[in-house]
């Protein structure tokens, strides 16, 4: 008889991994409800992302790619996976971490510490671009000036441009981001719910190259479930940061996310199904002539957001008159937003300037005050 070991719970056959049939399953894939052990899960997870990358022909051998890194779970797993796959399948990529410092005291400074540790853990160069140095405004100052409500609008527009500028500074023309399948489905659903058909069509492409930006963006996690990213980070004990941003999250996205989570609880494949719908969504082309009726060809048009469109059939990319950034309008979106802020910037600051302490921190403190 073999040496008797500590009595272990007898494993049922149904508790075994459905791939290797040897080890105990630890997770159930939301995509197909398959039960897998840790080792098989790693293998399937990594291979699927590799297949996504090769099917879409995302990278060229020798290319330098910037990883948009926030220190959160998605980008941390992305950095880890990119390193693993680059070495395993010999992509020949040079990988760089690119982070944006929005200037949110008590949130971004902590998450940037995580990115700085990732730099050492994954042995990649790190570049940090800050709003303050790019725009002379930190998010704390913007919120102090314009309130919490529009914080995500400002932050989103500024971040997009900041990533491009950071990449341009490093002479890189490809950024990968950690957007996952849940994020994609959320965006599709959001665009449907608010009738934004213009964005809907583009929202599912894995690689975007727009006239507004000289830099390619891609999403290797397009088909990867959030749950699996979190599990991968957990089992691999990756070092990531997880605190919600101090400012009010975009309310509509939050509502959509909850709706999606509730739908997913009933039907886990729903995320893939929504992405599939999004991919096959095609708009009926509008008749071009209608909009040009009674208009001179070189006429400019003032948009609702205050920006000015030059005549629509431009062939060459235009540049923002103020900052020189590529833009289809006279002024780029960031300059329009910042122009509005600049007009409202306080001329005199008090000694108890909240921007130093962080407006978010102050608001939090005030919230807890009671009489």
């Amino acid at each position: 008889m073999p040496v008797e070991s500590k009595p272990e719970k007898k494993l049922k056959v149904t508790a075994l991994c459905e791939l290797c049939h040897g080890r105990k399953a630890v997770m159930k894939r939301p995509k197909n409800l398959q039960k897998l052990c840790k080792e098989c899960f790693y293998k399937v997870f990594e291979t699927e992302i590799h297949n996504t990358i090769t099917d879409a022909n995302l990278f060229q051998y020798g290319e330098t790619v910037a990883i948009g890194a926030s220190g959160g779970k998605d980008s941390t797993v992305l950095a880890s996976i990119m390193k693993t796959l680059n070495e395993r399948y010999n992509y020949g990529l040079k990988l760089v971490l690119l982070s944006i410092d929005e200037g949110i005291v008590g949130y971004r400074d902590d998450s940037l510490d995580t990115v700085k540790r990732n730099k050492i853990q994954y042995d990649m160069p790190l570049e940090i671009v800050s709003y303050k140095e790019l725009y002379n405004w930190s998010m704390d100052e913007i919120v102090a000036c314009s309130g919490m409500r529009n914080s995500c609008t400002y932050c989103g527009v500024l971040r997009r441009q900041a990533l491009d500028r950071g990449a341009a500074k490093l002479n890189i023309n490809h950024i990968v981001t950690g957007h996952n399948a849940d994020d994609m489905a959320e965006t599709v659903l959001m665009n449907i719910l608010r009738g934004d058909t213009k964005r809907l069509e583009k929202s599912c492409s894995i690689l975007t190259e727009s006239a507004d930006s000289p830099i390619k963006r891609s999403k290797p996690f397009k088909y990867t479930y959030q749950k699996e990213i979190v599990l991968y980070a957990h089992y691999k004990k990756l070092d990531y940061f997880s605190t919600e941003c101090s400012y009010a999250p975009e309310a509509f996205r939050g509502t959509t996310r909850e709706l999606l989570k509730a739908l997913e609880a009933n039907r886990p494949s729903i995320i893939m199904d929504i992405i599939y719908s999004g991919e096959h969504f095609e708009l009926k082309r509008k008749k071009q002539t209608v909009s040009y009726k009674n208009k001179k060809k070189d006429e400019t048009q003032i948009n609702a957001d205050g920006s000015i469109s030059l005549n629509k059939d431009f062939t060459k990319a235009n540049k923002c008159e103020k900052c020189g950034y590529l833009s289809s309008n006279k002024l780029c979106k960031a300059c329009v937003l910042l122009g509005g802020l600049e007009a409202n910037r306080a001329k005199i600051t008090l000694d108890t300037d909240t921007s130093v302490e962080g407006a978010a921190k102050l608001t939090r403190t005030l919230e807890h005050l009671s009489f």
Partner: protein, 100 residues
């Protein structure tokens, strides 16, 4: 009495004064208590502010978007709420709702 360990990860520690790990004692005999008892004990004993209970619970169960692991195994493979708990079990709750 059953002694178990609770972990709040992925930012979920906001509901328990930023404390990530907790020891929890369930006042039942071994074999009698299930995951349901753990969930209600968490609401009673660990969540600091009553107002935060909806962050954790929805429709009387753990809110969708919170990943539950029992001894590092997905609770969906362990009978979920009906899992019979044992002393020394570790229950991990991870929020997946935060931004990446």
């Amino acid at each position: 009495m059953i002694k178990v360990k609770i972990e709040f990860l992925g930012g979920l520690d906001v509901i328990s004064n930023k404390q990530r790990e907790h020891k929890l004692i369930i006042d039942k005999e071994e074999g009698e208590a299930t995951m349901k008892d753990v969930i209600s004990a968490i609401c009673e004993k660990i969540i600091a502010d009553e107002k935060d209970i909806p962050v954790f619970i929805e429709d009387e169960t753990v809110r969708p978007g919170i990943l539950v692991l029992i001894n590092d195994t997905d609770w969906e493979l362990e009978d979920g709420e009906n899992y019979v708990i044992e002393s020394g079990d570790v229950f991990t709750f991870t929020s997946t709702l935060h931004g990446g």
